[in-house]
């Protein structure tokens, strides 16, 4: 499967997760996008840019008219988001496996400034989880009890060698709180994102239909 068709196959699967986050969970808006105390959403899986741009447009960060022109030379909306060009995008991604460590650094940075309430939420794909950089970050966040951090893993059964026994186990063994929910059930997603997880980072595995491979 080419990158483009992989993107296409994935577009439909994360829009519910993104919508619940931006509509009901994240305390961030176009007006507060530079507020040090805003919640942060980091799209580690840059392939999910299309539903992300759509949600950013629905929430006023982008003009909906921009979406049709995506990836043209005139557009600021690339195949993967560039934070220096896309209003509301916290990080620039595309290469898999970079968002979680950036999220850890953000939490360290907030902690150092004694900003302890805002959430830092990072969305990762189940195939992206193959990257070893995630293993480094999962262990570190767990040992350091980063309760400001939430990793949302979209499980579309797209990892080449799978995650036998469940993705959540890889997080649980490193002392994360874990929840597995239907990635299209808005109430279940909301409950998973908002139930307390004191002194532990949270991993929410959002199960969606298998990607065509």
């Amino acid at each position: 499967m080419t990158t483009v068709t992989k993107d296409l196959a994935a577009w439909g699967s994360t829009v519910d997760v993104l919508w619940v986050l931006f509509d009901r969970v994240l305390n961030v808006s176009p007006e507060t996008v530079r507020d040090p105390k805003r919640d942060r959403f980091l799209l580690s899986d840059g392939h999910e840019s299309m539903p992300y741009y759509a949600v950013l447009a629905a929430k006023g960060f982008l003009d909906p008219d921009e979406l049709g022109d995506r990836t043209s030379v005139r557009s600021r909306l690339g195949p993967h988001p560039d934070r220096t060009r896309v209003p509301g995008a916290e990080i620039s991604t595309g290469s898999p496996g970079h968002g979680l460590a950036l999220a850890l650094g953000t939490v360290f940075g907030l902690r150092a400034q004694r900003i302890t309430r805002p959430k830092v939420m990072v969305l990762i794909g189940d195939a992206e989880l193959d990257e070893g950089s995630n293993a480094e970050a999962i262990a570190l966040a767990g040992r350091l009890a980063m309760d400001q951090l939430t990793a949302v893993v979209i499980d579309s059964a797209s990892a080449t060698h799978g995650w036998p026994g469940g993705i959540e186990r890889r997080f649980a063994v490193e002392c994360w709180a874990t929840r597995v929910v239907d990635g299209h059930d808005h109430e279940a997603l909301y409950d998973a994102f908002t139930a307390p997880h004191p002194a532990q980072p949270l991993c929410v595995v959002a199960v969606v239909e298998p990607a065509r491979r």
Partner: protein, 291 residues
Amino acid sequence: MRATFLSTMDEALAADPRLVLVLADIPAESVAHARRRYPGRVLDVGNREQALIGVAGGLALAGLRPVAHALAPFLVERPYEQIKLDLTHQGVGAVLVSSGASYDLPGRTHQSPADVALLDTVPGWTVHVPGHPGEARRLLLESLPGDSAVYVRLSDQTNARPHLGAGFQLLREGRRGVVLAVGPVLDRVLAATGDLDVTLLYANTIRPFDAKGLRAAIGDVADVVLVEPYLAGTSAHQVAQALADVPHRLRSLGVRRDAEVRVYGNPADHDAVHGLDLPSLQAAISDFCGN
């Protein structure tokens, strides 16, 4: 130089609340005091070098000033993509401070002669190669304010005295070419060129490259010898660009690129392997400059 770096960080952490020191399992007893006083601003990620740079990127995104420190191969080569993407592509900076340089330690795995060449492939990095602990302290203190991307390459190899000027520093004037010595190779280059009628420039900041300083030093004979303590020719393209409109010759001395060097021994042994020992430098420079 490493002890100077850590003691300077100990002071700087007290003075600047934006600073965060991030370590990857490298001994740092001398910051124990700062670690106790500012536990949230002295972090150790363990043997996780991708996380080391990723965390530095996240800290910068949160408005802090990260200083990341590890041995050069584990700071630059292993997490090269994190430097490219988690710092430069995010549009944020950091101060990366390495130790070990090209071959302070025996064994290929712990040697990093390619670090400066690698950073040269990512835009916007300032690269300091101090040749003395006094230079290291000064260059570090200059790098800590602001948000720019800075690499400080520390080594156990040092010159007898510091040179604290900026840009390419003119140490000697001659008529038969220009020799540019970078960082810790200076004392050997001074000795190797003592009897030669050449101009000697010294740099402890090699990026940005002081093209103006090089051009000003060129006399009637545009022969240039680069002596760099990392991969030979790392700055050759900079010399070519600086002298694009001047017919010139260039000899690049540094760590050899043509062999996988498997000998152990001390740094002096490696200097000999790479032609950076005094007799080799004398022969190469006098041969090229026609003395």
